[in-house]
């Protein structure tokens, strides 16, 4: 059975975890078109290769993020979501969207170099 390195609990059998889907920034519904929203809801990247995804360690209800290769089924890294989701996110309509929106999280996500430095090294 696959071993997953939980950032909180260490190496555990995959059976202790549930998969939570691809990490994809939740768009601000006020800022996207209907088609973009529908695609957020239903369309999957479903990459064969390296992906970023959500996992939850069930006994501790702890969500974290894993970098995994779906073709090799190898997990390279796991880390706390705060590495990507650093600040509060609000979904405000355009008038008062001077406040932070998902954009910052999106930027964080693409800026993966900054992630790499602070991560729990997963097993490979």
């Amino acid at each position: 059975m696959k071993i997953i390195n939980c950032p909180l609990n260490g190496q555990r059998n995959a059976q202790e975890f549930v998969y939570g889907g691809e990490v994809e920034p939740h768009p601000n519904p006020h800022l996207v078109s209907d088609d973009e929203w529908a695609s957020y809801v239903f369309i999957e990247k479903n990459l064969s290769g390296k992906v970023l995804e959500w996992w939850c360690h069930v006994p501790t209800a702890y969500w974290f993020i894993a970098e995994r290769d779906t073709k090799l089924d190898e997990i390279f890294k796991t880390y706390d979501p705060s590495k990507i989701f650093k600040e509060r996110i609000d979904f405000l309509p355009p008038e008062d969207s001077s406040k932070k929106t998902t954009e910052s999280a999106v930027n964080n996500m693409h800026n993966t170099d900054s992630i790499k430095k602070n991560t729990t090294e997963g097993n490979s």
Binding site: M1, K2, I3, V18, G20, H26, P29, H30, V32, D34, W37, A38, Y40, V41, F42, W54, C56, A61, W63, D73, P81, S82, F85, K86, E87, R88, I89, D90, F91, L92, P93, A105, N123
Partner: protein, 969 residues
């Protein structure tokens, strides 16, 4: 005829312990340590089974397990490998797959038609005319299968265990023993596993020197060192059935499945000896060299009286020495190699003046008159690949020993990613592509001498320790020496004009079958396998894959490597459903009042992981009980256990904001001390859960969720907030609280007797109010909510006080005729009120508009999870709508839930909930109908059982007490 050898022959048997067992109804005796197969051979039984397709008699071939020829019925257990199961007192063994008797199988006539039944024949026949096929299918089905499952057999006790080691060594032959020792000396915690009853591998039975004790002495020396080493744990009779991701090994040991996690693994499983493919090579009495040696050395069985030994390597000469030692006359050694290879063993055989025939092969085995055993072997000269000269030597014999070389026993390494690579010139194999923490050692890695295998084992033990993270210095790997004695014969396949040269014994496949398939275009090795079923039987190609590859490779002109092997899949050894299931862990959750329900005669039903009372009373009075329970709530007071409802504490400065995002309603301005309905949609706008949110303080909400939904609601909440980062804390406190709903016009009276720190007056504690107080001294969160539409209170108390709470309410409510009610009565009561049950009145696509719940959506807030989807769905033309129906007086059938609403030939909806309302004296229902049918007053048609049509009228909801007077008193 085989027979038992005198003492001391037989290293595995204890002649002091006789064991009686039954075979085909007759009593037999064997010794402790005998397998079924060895005990049968010792008592002269040579036919062990009937072949799958042609019902040919079969005896032992390999005695190394997974040998389809030894499959037997052992008690209620079908398809047991008789060469692996040890006899026990009273064991009841019988043959399989025959009609008549094992020695005289009336179905063996099928073999006569084998020419007409080439591989895949069923694809070409039987289907025309179409009506005939079911008849044929029925016949084929009747003759299919081997053993018998007894439908009445109980399943025995199986369990499981998890083990962890630095290094696991699989296979305890010379390589495995050496590897375990070296790894342990390096400081690793080592587990050494072997599937035989005693460790030693081929050292237990092989002969690598003229000195018959050389191998066993080596074994004893190694074992001695191992036993002195505390770092090595040794398990015999333990088969590795599969390698799984991240070095997770499954091991079967007696009735236990061991799941092993190893930092590194040494696979030292040795090799499988390969048969020679010639006519009638499946006759009882024809066996592999290792099988003969095992019979003699392990079980003290003389495998026959007069033998011909056909070999393509030097080990065959060792076999010859062993059989001679056992008193078998050796008629000849037939060496497939063209030249004599001088080695200690062959010289010894020559010294004993045994005729040695070079460059020859068995050409045809001739059965005795009964067809039950070989009586003669015809030997021919090899003139080209697979071709023989016409002149023949004949030898009378009752034993033919064959060996075409040794092939890696590699399923484990192949499951771990390893590949077998062939050197077609030398006939040599090696393993490549293994991950760093899986090491193949010894025979499997191509080491053919004992010394080399031992040295390779030590090296592997060392590497494995290193791979397990134990620092040590590496020794050098021994060089693989390719010598003549190690050659695997390149083409031990001899096509006979009359056929019956078996490639696959399990599936009764002959050379001709594979050739036909190749000619028909099934040339890819995977097609060849599937079309012919070669390698798909119980032995999974141990003895047949290589021949199939050779035949395919000759046909296509590709190399063996280019031809490739079919995928290696678990299990690699016998494992039953019982082993895999083990103890069946099905957790069940009981509420604090569970036993009170049982005592009150409740019929329990599963609800998620919980059990809940469906109703109280006996099966045959179900409906009556449900009606009585519900009318008691309407008229007096009822008590229902609602502990299974999900409970979530949402706390912190952003608690209200968080609820505002998770649920469709508005919570920012919800007053403290008030409860409010919650409805959750997912991002697609589909209704997924509901409940109530109680604001206990500015920053603290207590939210209920459905019994089945709470785990996923909780997980979703955590997931969303892992992204949103609101200042909120979410705790699932479902199990911490036991809960009851005391409902009915007299509920206040009862509660007043028990509670003195909360003002229970209608103004002091109004509808949808929330209070914290004590009931009979028990601290309680009290909610005035009305799911069932009567005056009522939900009381949530610490779980360990739940049973006491129940007891005291039942006691204090006696005067008011309180009685418990179950889930069914509650469903009926809420139906009268038109409240939906998520997942009963909604399905995987229901959005709030269809469910007529637009009222539960706050329109002004900027966000909730399903907002965008719901508003997009709202813009679409509605296709269905949930409405209330009352069934118009019927004499006959009553619709059931999920009977369809029909409009002409169209399905426009379905009933989702229905029940007889004794308050309203009619059947009422919730149903989806098309929007144009949804106006009150519309008559709709429902089709019930047998196609009968029932009429119903659309009515306003709720059915009962539309102004909500009763719940608000």
């Amino acid at each position: 005829m085989p027979s038992r050898l005198p003492s001391p022959a037989g290293r595995f048997i204890d002649r002091d312990k006789q064991i009686k067992f039954k075979f085909e109804g007759r009593s037999l005796v064997g010794y402790q340590g005998d397998t079924i197969a060895s005990a049968l051979l010792a008592s002269g039984h040579t036919i062990l089974s009937r072949s799958f397709k042609y019902h040919r008699p079969r005896g032992v071939i390999s005695l190394s397990s997974l040998d389809a020829n030894t499959l037997m019925q052992v008690g209620d257990s079908p398809n047991r490998f008789a060469d692996r199961i040890q006899i026990q007192e009273g064991l009841n063994v019988s043959g399989q797959n025959y009609w008549g008797s094992l020695s005289n199988d009336r179905l063996s006539f099928i073999g006569k038609f084998s020419k007409f039944l080439p591989a895949g024949f069923y694809y070409k026949a039987f289907y025309s005319p179409r009506w005939a096929w079911p008849i044929w299918a029925n016949f084929i089905r009747k003759v299919a299968g081997l053993g018998v499952l007894n439908p009445n057999s109980k399943h025995s006790y199986y369990d499981k265990e998890y083990l962890f080691y630095d290094v696991v060594v699989v296979g305890a032959g010379v390589a495995g023993l050496s590897a375990a020792l070296e790894a342990a000396l390096s400081g690793a915690d080592v587990l050494l596993l072997d599937d035989e009853q005693r460790v030693g591998g081929s050292l237990n039975w092989g002969r690598s020197e003229p000195d018959e004790n050389a191998d066993i002495t080596k074994r004893d020396e190694l074992l001695n060192q191992i036993q002195q080493n505390n770092n090595i744990h040794l398990l015999s009779s333990s088969s590795v059935i599969g390698w799984y991701t991240d070095n997770w090994l499954a091991v079967v040991r007696e009735n236990r499945l061991i799941k092993l996690r190893a930092k590194s693994i040494v696979v030292a499983t040795g090799c499988w000896e390969q048969p020679i493919v010639f006519r009638n090579n499946d006759l009882p009495g024809v066996m592999l060299g290792s099988a003969a040696q095992k019979l003699i050395n392990l079980w003290g069985v003389r495998p026959g009286e007069r033998a011909v030994i056909a070999t393509s390597d030097d080990r065959g000469y060792g076999v010859a020495l062993d059989v001679m030692k056992a008193g078998v006359e050796v008629a000849a050694v037939v060496d497939l190699r063209p030249e004599f290879n001088e080695c200690k063993l062959s010289l010894e055989v020559r010294r004993k003046q045994i005729p040695i025939l070079l460059g020859r092969t068995p050409w045809e085995a001739i059965p005795n008159r009964q067809g039950s055993r070989v009586s003669k072997l015809r030997v021919a000269k090899i003139v080209a690949q697979g071709k023989c000269a016409p002149e023949i030597d004949s030898f009378a014999c009752d034993l033919v020993i064959m060996s075409a070389g040794w092939f890696p026993a590699a399923p484990i390494v192949r499951q771990a990613g390893g590949k077998i690579v062939y050197d077609e010139l030398s006939g040599h194999t090696k393993i490549t592509d293994l991950p760093e923490n899986v090491i193949a050692a010894g025979g499997i890695a191509g080491h053919t001498s004992l010394e080399a295998a031992a040295a390779d084992g030590s090296y592997a033990g060392n590497v494995a320790a290193k791979a397990a993270g134990i620092d040590n210095k590496r020794v050098q790997p021994p060089q693989i020496q390719i010598t003549k004695e190690s050659q695997m014969h390149p083409w031990p396949i001899f096509d006979h004009p009359k056929g019956k040269e078996f490639v696959d014994f399990d599936e009764d496949l002959q050379i001709h079958d594979l050739e036909t398939a190749l000619e028909e275009g099934y040339t890819h090795i995977e097609h060849l396998k599937r079309f012919t079923t070669n390698g798909m039987g119980p032995s999974q190609g141990r003895h047949s894959s290589l021949s199939a590859m050779r035949l395919a490779s000759r046909y296509t002109g590709l190399s063996l490597d280019g031809t490739g092997m079919t995928t290696a899949r678990p299990p690699n050894a016998q494992v039953t459903l019982g082993h895999l299931a083990g103890r069946i862990f099905e957790p069940v959750r009981y509420t604090a009042m569970h036993h009170r329900h049982l005592e009150a005669g409740a019929k329990m039903m599963p609800a998620g992981m919980w059990l809940r009372p469906e109703y109280y009373g006996s099966d045959n009075r179900r409906n009556q009980m449900i009606q009585e329970e519900s009318s008691n709530v309407r008229n007096n007071v009822g008590l229902i256990d609602v502990s299974t409802l999900g409970g979530l504490d949402i706390k912190g400065p952003d608690a209200a904001e968080f609820l505002n995002r998770m649920y469709t309603f508005a919570y920012l301005k919800q007053p403290v001390g008030k409860a409010r309905y919650v409805l959750m949609t997912d991002i697609a706008g589909v209704i997924v859960d509901d409940g109530v949110a109680c604001r206990l303080s500015e920053n603290h909400f207590y939210v209920t969720a459905t019994t089945g939904g709470v785990e996923s609601v909780y997980r979703q909440m955590l997931w969303f907030n892992a992204q949103w980062r609101l200042k909120v804390d979410i705790t699932n406190i479902t199990a911490s609280y036991a809960g009851v709903n005391i409902a009915g016009p007299k509920s206040r009276v009862v509660l007043e007797r028990l509670c003195d720190d909360v003002d229970l007056t209608p103004d002091g504690f109004p509808y949808m109010g929330v209070r914290e107080g004590h009931v009979a001294g028990i601290p309680a969160r009290m909610l005035r909510v009305g799911f069932v539409g009567e005056l009522g209170y939900e009381l949530h108390v610490p779980a360990h006080l739940g049973e006491a709470l129940w007891d005291v309410i039942i006691e204090e409510g006696k005067e008011e005729k309180i009685r418990p009610f179950g889930v069914e009565a509650q469903r009926l009561l809420r139906l009268e009120k038109g409240h939906i049950i998520i997942s009963q009145d909604t399905d995987g696509l229901t959005h709030p508009i269809e469910a007529d719940m637009a009222w539960a959506i706050a329109r002004k807030k900027p966000f909730y999870v399903g907002l965008k989807s719901v508003s997009m769905l709202e813009k679409k033309i509605l296709t269905r709508k949930l409405v209330g129906l009352e069934i118009i007086e019927t004499e006959g059938s009553i619709p059931k839930e999920c009977h369809l609403v029909i409009d002409g030939s169209e399905i426009t909806g379905r009933i989702t909930s229905i029940g007889y309302s004794s308050s309203l004296e009619k059947y009422v229902a919730l149903a989806y109908v098309s929007p144009n049918q949804s106006n009150p007053g519309t008559i709709v048609e429902i089709r019930v059982e047998e196609g009968e049509i029932i009429q119903a009228r659309v009515v306003e909801l709720p059915f009962y007490d539309p102004d909500g007077l009763r719940q608000e008193i």
